[in-house]
């Protein structure tokens, strides 16, 4: 769910690796981030709709999904969609992108795999800084 820069890139990679990918996009303007060729040849199925709405999730094939990734830029929407995938559709692996530290702890405590781009970038930057003796 979410085809911003992160979602689009993840979707393209997964699709290129041979996975069956559907992407739900709550805002119509974001769709341009997806590579046209992959959408046009049907490699990525695009579903426009409410990011946490049953209609869009079912159309995207949530019932058969092995993995659900909530990658929009909206923490709360990602949290809702991820919890819905987990509790309503029993999706085995659910990953949720979250910026806010408090929400990250909350969703982790609820058993959702959380990825925080902010924390990741900070880690990478810190790794490039030489150790201070």
């Amino acid at each position: 769910m979410g085809s911003g820069r992160i979602g689009a890139r993840v979707a393209s990679s997964l699709s290129t690796d041979g996975h069956d990918v559907s992407i739900i996009e709550p805002s119509r303007t974001q769709v341009m981030n997806l590579p046209r060729t992959l959408v046009d040849d049907g490699s990525i199925r695009l579903v426009a709709g409410d990011g946490s709405g049953s209609e869009a999730m079912l159309e995207a094939g949530i019932e058969d999904a092995d993995v659900f990734l909530a990658l929009s830029g909206d923490d709360a929407l990602n949290g809702l969609a991820a919890q819905k995938a987990k509790t309503v559709y029993r999706t085995r692996r659910v990953v949720c992108r979250v910026k806010d530290e408090g929400l990250r702890e909350l969703y982790t405590s609820l058993g959702i795999t959380v990825t925080s781009p902010t924390a990741l970038v900070a880690d990478v930057i810190l790794q490039t800084v030489p150790d201070i003796p």
Partner: protein, 221 residues
């Protein structure tokens, strides 16, 4: 009691007003500075600018000592996240979320929100009783939403008109609790009660039986 409300829109503000009038201590958090200023100018420092999904903002609003937490923004996802934070991080004994999407009502309760108010369901209930058709009017959910109390008006010419209740086969687990005549007179249902055209029947039914119930009571011969 100390009540924290997220969202100072019409619902949040109206709620704050009524609670203040009954002597409760109320605090509102909203991410719109204009709304916050309006509230502060009429009620004093009972509102501040902040994000209901941010732990620091919630802490500053004193959520830790709140007896009741109400999330009433127009964003269902935000309302869920803030109620979950209130519950998990601050151990608020009672959380309430307002939702627009009726689907979210059951989901949010399953996810730990103590009470969920579905605006769409409320509006539909009121509207259904004003339109001339004979829809199911859902009066209230019962027993953890597995059962509900509904009102169904019997259309003139329906198959059940002039039949006794004992002759009508209702879905398993449904029971008629009141029959209201077209002029408003109420009748306690008995097996020999005869249904008439335009009678309104109040029934407690398992949620999955509601559609069948409606069909049974409104079907034309």
């Amino acid at each position: 009691m100390y009540i924290v409300i997220i969202g100072a829109g019409r619902i949040g503000t109206g709620l704050a007003r009524s609670q203040l009038a009954t002597g409760q201590e109320v605090f509102l958090l909203d991410n719109n500075s204009e709304r916050v200023e309006t509230l502060r100018s009429s009620f004093g420092s009972i509102a501040r600018l902040g994000d209901g999904t941010n732990v620091t903002n919630l802490r500053e609003a004193g959520v830790a000592r709140a007896g009741l937490f109400i999330a009433a923004t127009d964003n269902d996802a935000v309302n869920l996240a803030s109620c979950q934070l209130a519950k998990q991080v601050f151990n608020v004994p009672s959380t309430v979320a307002v939702v627009m999407d009726p689907e979210n009502a059951t989901l949010f309760e399953a996810l730990g929100v103590d009470d969920v108010v579905s605006l769409t369901d409320l509006a539909m209930t009121r509207l259904a009783s004003t339109v001339p058709a004979h829809p199911v009017v859902r009066l209230m959910p019962l027993a953890g939403r597995n059962r509900e109390m509904v009102a169904i008006k019997i259309p003139a010419g329906a198959e059940v008109v002039n039949r006794m209740l004992s002759e009508i086969v209702l879905p398993y687990g449904s029971s008629v609790i009141l029959v209201i005549g077209p002029t408003g007179q109420t009748e306690e249902p008995r097996p020999e009660t005869v249904l008439g055209a335009e009678d309104e029947v109040i029934v407690v039914t398992p949620v999955e039986g509601t559609q069948t119930l409606w069909e049974t009571l409104t079907e034309m011969p």
